[in-house]
Assembly symmetry: C2
Homo-oligomer: 315 residues x 2
């Protein structure tokens, strides 16, 4: 019989979607589920992190708590929502120190406070390793909500912030680089400004990496993309090889969004409260994600991280 490790996460999700969303009506593919509440949508998203796959050895409890909170708030941010709060289900090993648990809780609390959210409740259970599922709830006006679908040919593609902050850890796997990996700043306030600007036609966060996120917008919007490598905002000091790697690295939490070209100038001059935004390309009526670099124009493949599947280069 076929195993998860042979088929990969995408096939697992396909099986689940076929069961829960046979007509594709539930919009299950967005960063959050949307529930109609009259003038607003209730946004809800669950993200799980596990010790073995997400938390490098030596990570502080505070950073674990912050990260588990931030990645869930990022999904609310990418749809323009105002966080109502979070629930946490904590799977904890019996030999965990109580002080470490309190540090996890403090990290959650600090991340909530920084982004106008609060912890609403949760559950604790015994587990062989640390496993934390956060569920974030938010509200967004129906006319404001940003989804993966909606990009139109001619729209301009933007990115918040810079790529590459967490590359240090991937290159060194050193303890001093863990914070660059996990001290994620979800773009909650920025997402709200974007949603209310009326200029944004589609949006997603970069949690699966830039290439995969572009392909999500491509599929949802039935459009193509032309991206300029030279326009992508990387942190300083990266080699060409590093930059190439950053295109496919999951775990970035900037926002990728498309903007009506008639409204792009006004959006750029208003800004996002100090956070840099950069135009990196345009939406086309093609079917591919194309990128132009020193070698000319070629297809940018969907190579974001996929769970379960063992790759050849994983050994």
């Amino acid at each position: 019989m076929s195993k998860l490790r042979d088929m990969g996460e995408k096939e697992a999700i396909r099986i689940l979607l076929q069961r829960f969303d046979p007509d594709g009506q539930l919009m299950i593919g967005d960063d959050c589920a949307m529930v109609d509440m009259g003038r607003e949508y209730l946004l809800a998203t669950s993200d799980m992190i596990n010790q073995d796959t997400h938390i490098p050895e030596g990570t502080s409890g505070w950073l674990i708590g912050w990260y588990a909170t931030a990645i869930n708030l990022s999904d609310i941010a990418s749809m323009g929502g105002f966080p109502l709060g979070l629930l946490f289900a904590l799977g904890l090993p019996p030999d965990m120190d109580m002080d470490f648990l309190d540090e996890i809780a403090r990290g959650m609390e600090d991340c909530c406070k920084a982004h106008g959210a609060k912890v609403l409740g949760g559950d604790t259970k015994e587990n062989p390793t640390i496993s934390i599922t956060g569920t974030a709830l938010g509200l967004v006006g129906k006319k404001d909500v940003m989804q993966r679908k909606g990009a139109r040919p001619g729209d301009i593609v933007f990115l918040t912030g810079e790529l590459g902050n967490q590359l240090g850890w991937y290159n060194t796997r050193a303890e001093w680089d863990i914070e660059s990996l996990l001290k994620v700043d979800p773009r909650v306030r920025e997402g709200q400004i974007l949603a209310q600007s009326g200029a944004v036609t589609s949006c997603i966060d970069l949690s699966d990496g830039l290439s995969t996120s572009l392909h999500h917008l491509r599929k949802a919007g039935e459009v193509g993309f032309e991206i300029e490598m030279d326009s992508i905002p990387f942190i300083g000091g990266l080699s060409d090889e590093d930059k190439e790697k950053c295109l496919h690295l999951g775990g970035e939490f900037e926002l990728l969004f498309t903007v009506d070209p008639g409204k792009a100038n006004s959006l750029m001059s208003t800004g996002l409260g100090g956070l840099k935004i950069t135009a990196i390309g345009t939406v086309t009526d093609g079917q591919d994600v194309l990128i132009t670099d020193d070698d000319g124009q070629h297809v940018l493949e969907d190579r974001g991280y996929e769970h379960f599947r063992r790759r050849a280069d994983d050994g």
Copy 2:
């Protein structure tokens, strides 16, 4: 330093509450978190199940999916809510068969359909063992909501259904008794009827066992209880020893609720659409949960299952 296994789940929860709810204002102790939405409360609850602690070997995927759904819907039920839907975070081992995953999904779907809910979204991640966190969302009218607090001296204590359905598995640990353990029927429709009756002053489900649930209502309501052992509805064929065991067995999902004595007759004659309800005692102005059995009246201790903590009789 103190470890979870020495301190137990209650101490873990105390640490978390101290962090997230220093003033006790979040009502974090109810079966669901409550978010003010104007005329209604949004109810939200997360419950995690793990292979090692909740799922006996030999359990079918369908039953795992059903159970993970049912225990979350039970929390919505105990507050009288109408389910909006569920999110699931699935931690899955890479060697899981894809067919088994589809069976889990089918169990979730069947339980949702049976109780007017649907799957809204979720997350899948790699985990050493199966770990499922369900988050259920629901709505309840502000005037209808049932909470743990609210019982008043003189109120009558009721229980839905019968206790002991899952005792078979605890006694035999045999595969043929797994269904009695996990094929939980959350009392969703019954909870809604109770909430709208205007007769119920407090309510909780029995997921932590009858003794612990009574103590939750006692603490939240600042009242005492007098329970009659002979009135408790057990399934047929139980020895006195079995009945005693059932008082403390977690994993039952009947509703325990208190009723205004002036409205009890009307509630009993209306009924809960066919489900048996039984008066098992009264609320007092005392500070203990007292139970009367053949040996007379004595204190019913809070002995529901607590995670993490190793008991002497666990070996």
